[in-house]
Amino acid sequence: MIEQFERLPGIGPRTAQRLALHLLRQPEEQTRSFAEALLAARSQVGHCRRCFHLSAEPLCEICRNPERANGQLCVVADSRDLLAMERTREYHGGYHVLGGLISPMDGVGPELLQIQSLVRRVAGQADPALPDSPTADPPTADSSIEEVILALTPSVEGDTTSLYLARLLRPFTRVSRIAYGLPMGSELEYADEVTLARALEGRRPVE
């Protein structure tokens, strides 16, 4: 069990040991419901069919909320970055989760990321992911995207992805990227809310 915990991100051997001992001291009932919650999450949580954020429903909570279809679309690398943006409470538009960044060294080209689906959303084409979508989804929501905000880590991979996306999307909409008050090489995930909110305000068009 300790080994299992050690495989989790951010958990060292000592924390793993502490967590394992803690669980062993719990009443059996509690351990059971914890294990069931883990399994349930694994089997039920998939990806939102529109924005590819983690979601137990076919469409995630954000995509289901009509107020968030305000014409803005924020592009992030993964769901952790989406959650970081949400914590700012400064952003009220929709999202698109790429599922990574372009990195040839790691064998990741554009075709492995949710880029085609992004272009389709922005270009206002029919969304093939949603042919028989539930009623909660306003079908025209995506045809009116006025601005795409690229919120990718300013690494070589992040910048490559941003520049590549900007070229693809510019024929259809305004494209901006968040300005970084963040030190070069830092990760979006670890930036505090204040910094991120400020960076969001200071976004500017991709030159």
Binding site: I102, P104, M105, G107, G109, E111, T160, P183, G185
Partner: protein, 426 residues
């Protein structure tokens, strides 16, 4: 000879009093005005009397204590440096170069021997820790880990970026590899120039590693055939970034070379008797129009990147940019690489390294630490003496060799000798 393993010594205190005068007056030890210009050859008298890099300071100790754990073959080392010249003696593979390499890493975050931290960590250990105390009272610590990268701290505070460690300990390295500087591959001269710029502008390191990563990603893109129909768009994205970062590298290298040239020419004149004028010509890997200016250079580089693309697709190699830079060393307008004699070339190497030492010292305001790794024994007695006279007593020097006899008499005066055996100080 004083040998100290340091354990019994007082732990690093803050500021120390290097002169024993009760006062600590940095101005006395650093002024670049004290570096006198080279004078005509041959010098009068037995010792070279005018030109020297030495400053008026008897005990120029910058690095006071070095502590290493699980670094290469060194399990643990704690060394206090109490005279300005440290001679590290040991057979090959015993760890003498490792000791100097550790200082290089603390001063520049780089090693001239490897680009991979895994090589630096003792076999079977998860990580290595390098620490040192400087006379100015800084405690620097750099942790290398097999997994999870590096972590740097200063005076007990973890630094957000390892680059912030730079600046406290400037060093100039001179190793046996540098002996090929004149006749070797262009990459040797590029790396030499990079090390100079790094000491002048620590931020240069970020540009360098960013450019290196761009280059690797770009070549992997071609090699793995990724992108398909999107290849042109992806290459555009790389072009745009490489034009910008490449221009910044070109500018800094160009600028450093212009500052090095008069210094190197003066040293060459002094060391060789002044028959031939030395010129350092920047043979850049991109055509750079006009005077140094960011925007025109960036645009020129962008259009050259676009123009070479068909060729790149054929060969799988990007054909323009700072990774193709070279420095042409011209003696009397003829490339020393082809026309210089072996002796001329070696003298020239010495002139280049002394120019580097002088430039870094004058820009930074303090004489940098000099790391002479396995190189002194490669120089004949005359050049050993030339180097000693030029360096004088003003620089703290860490010197390694296989035998104590490799050092000329002058080098053995006022020195601390440490023998390395199987990674231990004996």
């Amino acid at each position: 000879m004083p040998v100290s393993t340091g354990r019994e010594r007082a732990a690093c205190s803050g500021r120390v009093d290097p002169d024993g005068t009760g006062r600590w007056t940095p101005e006395r030890r650093i002024s670049p005005r004290h570096i006198r210009r080279p004078s005509p050859w041959p010098p009068q008298g037995p010792a070279l009397d005018g030109p020297t890099l030495a400053v008026d300071c008897l005990r120029p100790i910058r690095l006071q204590r070095l502590e290493l754990t699980h670094f290469r073959n060194i399990e643990r080392l704690d060394l206090t440096l109490d005279v300005p010249r440290l001679l590290v003696v040991g057979a090959n593979g015993e760890g003498k170069s490792n000791l100097l390499e550790a200082v290089e890493l603390l001063g520049s975050l780089r090693s001239h021997r490897t680009g991979s931290d895994r090589d630096l960590i003792r076999h079977g250990e998860p990580g290595a820790v390098l620490g040192c105390c400087t006379v100015a009272g800084d405690r620097l610590r750099l942790a290398l880990r097999r997994q999870g990268g590096r972590q740097a701290s200063r005076n007990g505070r973890t630094l957000e970026r390892q680059q912030d460690l730079l600046g406290s300990l400037r060093c100039v390295g001179f190793s046996a590899l540098d002996l090929d500087l004149v006749r070797g591959e262009p990459s040797l001269r590029r790396h030499w120039l990079d090390r100079v710029v790094l000491q002048l502008e620590p931020l240069y390191g970020e540009l360098l590693s960013r450019y290196g990563r761009l280059l690797r990603q770009r070549s992997q893109l071609l090699r793995r055939g990724l992108g398909g129909a999107e290849l042109a768009g992806l290459l555009d994205a790389f072009d745009q970034q490489m034009a910008l970062v490449g221009t910044r590298l070109h500018r800094r290298r160009h600028r450093a070379l212009r500052r090095l040239e008069p210094l190197a020419a003066a040293w060459q004149e002094r060391l060789s008797g002044g028959l031939e004028q030395l010129r350092l010509h920047y043979s850049s890997g991109s055509e750079l129009p006009g005077e140094e200016a960011e925007e025109p250079w960036r645009m020129a580089l962008a259009s050259q990147l676009a123009a070479q693309r068909p060729e790149e697709l054929r060969l799988g190699q990007c054909g323009v940019g700072p990774h193709r830079d070279d420095v042409a060393l011209l003696l009397g307008e003829r490339p020393a690489r082809r026309y210089g004699s072996a002796g001329q070339q070696r003298t020239l190497v010495l002139a280049l390294k002394l120019a580097e030492l002088e430039l870094v010292g004058s820009v930074v305001g303090t004489p940098p630490l000099l790391l002479l790794d396995d190189v002194l024994a490669e120089l004949d007695p005359t050049r050993q003496q030339l180097l000693l006279d030029a360096v004088g007593e003003g620089h703290q020097c860490l010197v390694s060799a296989t035998h104590l006899e490799a050092f000329g008499g002058g080098w053995r005066r006022h020195c601390q000798v440490v023998r390395m055996q199987a990674g231990r100080v004996g």
